[in-house]
């Protein structure tokens, strides 16, 4: 316990990095995922095909591999960014594929009548999506988005191995330094994650209720 108490500031700092990485990746992934979802339902075949390919590729690749690629591979292409940026790119690109699917399922969940009515009053595809369908689709896709967000939070732990010093990284270093404190350290770091995950899940449920589409 002593190790845990002595190093709690480090552990908290680690959690902060975890949250930062999660936040940045989530934002980028949400944007990219929305664009991809729109591409996948658009009338233009090339774009549909591109979106489908993207999802097929990145949903089936392990994130660890993506991190290897971004963290060791990108510098070889002359792209010298900070570790954090490279880790964030890997996490965003990977998560965007899942967010895209979540939003697409949200689009599918919008009652057909909504889109039909929008078309009936003469809206174009872009207007149908941006004014009528997407606002509702986002609300409907909150539950899967939240569960992917939770997955992302946990996935950022993988970045630790590649040198981003977030929560799990501190567990790793401290556990190697103080072997006897292993169990307490695990309990402490695990608790941090449990708290964060519960907080995200709670916010998700709140948003879901607040933004529910009334029918």
């Amino acid at each position: 316990v002593k190790v845990l108490l002595d190093h709690y500031d480090e552990l908290l700092k680690g959690m902060w990095v975890t949250l930062k990485l999660t936040g940045v990746s989530a934002l980028v992934a949400l944007l990219l995922g929305t664009v991809l979802a729109v591409m996948r339902v658009s009338p233009v075949p090339t774009l549909r095909w591109a979106g489908t390919t993207y999802v097929a590729i990145f949903r089936n690749t392990p994130l660890t591999l993506m991190l290897v690629f971004c963290i060791f591979g990108l510098p070889q292409l002359g792209l010298n960014m900070s570790f954090f940026t490279r880790a964030a790119i890997a996490c965003s690109v990977y998560t965007a594929a899942f967010f895209c699917e979540a939003i697409r399922s949200g689009i599918n969940a919008v009652p057909i009548g909504q889109a039909e009515a929008a078309r009936a009053i003469g809206l174009r595809f872009r207007q149908v999506l941006s004014v009528v369908v997407l606002p509702q689709a986002f609300r409907a896709s909150i539950p899967p988005l939240i569960s992917f967000l939770i997955a992302l939070t946990k996935n950022t732990a993988i970045a630790e191995f590649f040198g981003v010093s977030e929560a799990t990284a501190h567990f790793d270093t401290l556990a190697n330094k103080y072997e006897s404190a292993l169990y307490w350290l695990f309990a402490g770091v695990a608790l941090e994650y449990v708290v964060v995950v519960l907080a995200i899940a709670g916010t998700g449920r709140w948003l879901e209720k607040r933004w529910r589409v009334l029918t």
């Binding site: 009338p43 392990p62 994130l63 591999l65 290897v68 591979g73 292409l77 732990a157 449990v194």
Partner: protein, 296 residues
Amino acid sequence: MSGSVLFDAPGPKGRRRILIGSLIGAVVLLGILAWAIWQLDRHHQFVYRPNWWVFTDPGIQRLLLRGYWATIKAAALAIVLSLLFGAVFASMRLSDRAWLRWVATVVVEFFRAVPLLLLMLFLFLGFADQLRPIGNLVNARPPDAYGAVVIGLTLYNGSVLAEVFRAGILALPRGQTEAGYALGLRKVQLMRLVLVPQAARLMLPAIVSQCVVALKDSALGFVVGYVELLRSGKFIYNQYSNIIPTAIVVAAMFIVTNMVLTGLASWLERHTRKVPKEAKKAGIPVGEQMGQAAAV
């Protein structure tokens, strides 16, 4: 996507616009692709020797295949164990005894909230001696890392599957349970004869997408030092410093395997599912909704 509700069936003008859009889209995409290729080429990623040439070497191919086999070995055992784990904990959560429900809820929620990597590291650092026999059982190298990967995957995926199973059972129409009890079935009989067979069919997609997750997550073995596909790739790119070609090859192996798995699942689904009328009417298969919530 023919007959989408999001846009009208295009008339001649619309068709022309779509064609133009397609062309523009294609040009942009090809542009991005060309830029990527140009970048790769500028940094000598397409030089045949030794970047790509190494993959024609039988020794390297064997190394990759061994890694692939190690990945499959870890993922397969983990999937079998997590199905068991999931079944046990799902039935605990559906139990009539409150304390069983509580224990199962805490365990399942805990393992779902903790990063798999943290779990694996903990197992690897703390229980190496206990894990070694598991690895030795299947002749994996190093045995303790194998054990950590398999047990970590089992605890995590098992917990997710427990939720999938529970949701699957609860998604069945209430009448099924009531009818079962009305016939005088005991709870165990009701589960075995009525609920589980129906739920299993609904849950198939979710189970398969969890298999894909397990297969992908077995790549975490890379971190604890289990010599799986990605780790084998590391041997190659450390020696030939061809990280990008190696990453592409390894990714392709993962992607193909996962797509085969998914394809197999949809084939199985088409051939085994006797569509329950309600689910068909609702439009979206319940399993798909659950799969979306579960997978990553």
